[in-house]
């Protein structure tokens, strides 16, 4: 879309795919077509396609190994498609009927591309550029191109590359070491190439529409604008925006680095939730005040089935070592409900969310539960460990778990193995537990707001049809949060909240007003939540 032509250069607006700024020469690249192939005998055509597929597989594998990480995963889809017999066989069937290899190949791919492009789902639409990439790569070889990857000439530093759409493999062939940016006429913010651009910090704007040729360009990934052949005034404004962006990012990082968040003079503890040990590798994890929720269900899905004591101990120990003196709250197996585990959770329950899940399930399977408790009791010697039980309804359940844990500790000691009983707390997610919170002799409480809201509102949280009924800020939910927070304050037991609400800047002010002073969020949300609290305490709106 053209915005204005009154200043020296033209300005276009698209959609942001990756934030950042690039200023440099404007370079167009295109797919580059060779002539069509003359069909040979069917067996020759089949052989040509087989060889082209093989060569393409090798090129993609080479690109993937050079790029590694996320890029490699993205290219895996293309390799998987080349290895998909259901997909490839009909193409060879066409060839045996006399079709030329290139025509048979591209019509099969075009059909898939059209199918993806017409999808209502943006993620699926975005996959069509992966397919176009694959189509063109194989075609290039079939139509006599070298079997070496077509090289894009080395781009000058900071160039703004313009293309209709850019497949991931072409992105990886461009040398981005000197920066630069990507301006696409079509494309999508959810495409694989957009993920790659974000991962590499390359600014990218998509859906710019038709663009004229130009010598130089300014690409602003934040406001999604592309300015061609800019005048001096445009360049000055662009550099000002670039500088403002740099400062704002630096200030979010600075807030993260501050030791503590405070609100109304009270310390707000910000902890993180982790699903698995690798989550600790997030760059911001180190700024958390500890781990508010470590889920352990991932241990149940290993290739060898139920993890033994040693395997579990090593995982818990690794997390405690990472945390050093900071608190680590580990939740015992929370299987069942929407988290079925073969061989552990019951089958055929009419309503698994109200069934044998969480601590209920662990208490009827003491054989499996004791293995986890043994590993936790040993790990408790290694750091600031707290253990919490999920899906608790009655104080008697907490006491049964405590008794089993104490027995486990005694067994370990009798065997001469170092062990201790850690602090024990409960998840507050069953409304009855929140209503009768004063009856629980727990050292701490953690509000599982996702389940609490779904039980209070009688809304399956995974049922999109319920829409706005599923509102975690409903007064009934907030009342139970207040009740729990007040009890914690009176009893001297810390209360945190570890559901999705804690990671949502719009919910955070309400949670603080409810009396919560500990929130456990996902590591990628940590900076934003800390900034939200910082703005609230400085009289901002918190938005």
């Amino acid at each position: 879309m053209m915005m204005r032509a009154d200043v020296a250069g033209l300005s276009f607006r698209g959609r942001t795919a990756s934030i950042g700024f690039a200023r440099g020469p404007f370079i167009r690249i295109s797919a580059g077509e060779n002539g069509e192939r003359v069909a040979g005998e069917p067996q020759d055509e089949a052989l040509a396609l087989r060889e082209a597929i093989q060569a393409s597989s090798e090129q993609i594998a080479e690109l993937a190994s050079a790029a590694g990480g996320e890029a490699a995963q993205i290219l895996e889809f293309q390799v998987a498609l080349l290895e998909d017999e259901d997909f490839i066989e009909p193409i060879f069937a066409d060839i045996s009927q006399g079709a030329a290899a290139d025509k048979a190949w591209s019509s099969a791919l075009d059909e898939q591309i059209a199918d993806y492009t017409s999808a209502s789902d943006e993620y699926l639409q975005a996959r069509s550029s992966d397919l176009a990439d694959l189509r063109d790569r194989v075609l290039h070889i079939l139509r006599g191109g070298e079997t070496q990857a077509p090289k894009i000439p080395k781009t000058p530093g900071g160039a703004v590359i313009c293309a209709d759409d850019l497949p991931p493999s072409r992105f990886l062939e461009i040398d981005w070491s000197a920066g630069g940016g990507l301006a696409l006429l079509r494309g999508s913010p959810t495409s694989h190439v957009a993920m790659l651009a974000r991962a590499r910090g390359i600014p990218m704007v998509v859906q710019l529409g038709a663009l004229p040729d130009a010598a130089t360009a300014l690409l602003d990934g934040e406001s999604a604008t592309l300015e061609l052949d800019p005048g001096t005034e445009q360049i000055t404004l662009f550099e000002r925006r670039r500088e403002a962006h740099r400062k704002s990012r630096a200030s979010a990082r600075a807030i993260l680095r501050r030791p503590a968040a405070t609100w109304r003079g009270e310390r707000i503890r910000l902890l993180i939730n982790i699903q698995r040990v690798e989550d600790l590798e997030h760059a911001d994890a180190q700024y958390a005040d500890g781990i508010g929720l470590m889920r352990t269900e991932f241990l149940l899905s290993g290739p060898d089935g139920m993890p033994d004591e040693e395997t579990q101990y090593r995982v818990y120990d690794a997390v405690l070592r990472w945390a050093d003196k900071k608190p680590v709250t580990i939740r015992t197996f929370d299987a069942g409900g929407d988290k079925p585990v073969a061989g552990f959770t019951p089958e055929g329950e009419a309503n698994p969310f109200l069934g044998l899940r969480g601590l209920r399930l662990c208490l009827v399977r003491p054989d499996l539960f004791k293995v986890q408790l043994r590993a936790l009791a040993r790990a408790a010697m290694r750091g600031n460990l707290k253990v919490m039980f999920p899906m608790v309804t009655l104080p008697a359940e907490l006491e049964a778990a405590r008794a089993l844990f104490a027995e486990t500790v005694a067994d370990l000691k009798a065997e001469g193995i170092g062990a201790m009983l850690p602090e024990l707390g409960i998840m507050v997610e069953v409304p009855a537990a929140a209503m009768a919170i004063g009856d629980f002799k727990a050292a701490f409480f953690s509000i599982g707001s996702n389940d609490l809201a779904q039980y209070v509102l009688a809304c399956d949280r995974s049922n999109g049809a319920l829409g706005t009924l599923m509102d975690p800020l409903h007064p009934a939910v907030l009342e139970l949060i207040v009740r729990t927070a007040e009890h914690g304050r009176r009893a001297g037991a810390p209360v945190s909240l570890c559901g999705d609400m804690a990671s949502d800047p719009h919910c955070v002010p309400q949670l603080l007003y409810c009396g919560l002073r500990e929130l456990s969020v996902n590591a990628p949300s940590l900076a934003q939540i800390k900034q939200t609290i910082d703005r609230l305490s400085h009289g901002g709106s918190g938005g």
Partner: protein, 101 residues
């Protein structure tokens, strides 16, 4: 669950797709890769009325367009059918982890 059909005994299972964007490229690649490690013939579908499709075909699995929270039904027959169904359920239930699969 063990059942029988004209093709002989087969094993079935169901699992909810919790992946945030549904059955997209990366989940589909992981699912087909895992399915290919078994000898059994494995079919899946994302709704009770849909046709069964080959779980070893990434193009077909993508074409399911299974959204988040849909229930994936799995059916397998062959020697290692039981292990195949269990492994696939596990993969989907654990949200396609990057390791161990």
């Amino acid at each position: 669950m063990l059942e029988t059909s004209a093709d002989g005994p087969f094993v079935t299972g169901k699992v909810r797709l919790i992946h945030v964007v549904g059955m997209h490229a990366r989940p589909a690649v992981k699912l087909t890769k895992l399915a290919k490690r078994f000898q059994a013939q494995i079919s899946i579908r994302a709704s009770e009325t849909a046709d069964w499709i080959n779980a070893k075909s990434v193009a077909k699995v993508m074409a399911l367009r299974a959204p988040r929270d849909s229930t994936i039904e799995i059916k397998a027959h062959g020697e290692d059918a039981e292990a195949a169904v269990a492994a696939l359920i596990d993969l989907v239930a654990t949200d396609f982890p990057d390791t161990g699969a």
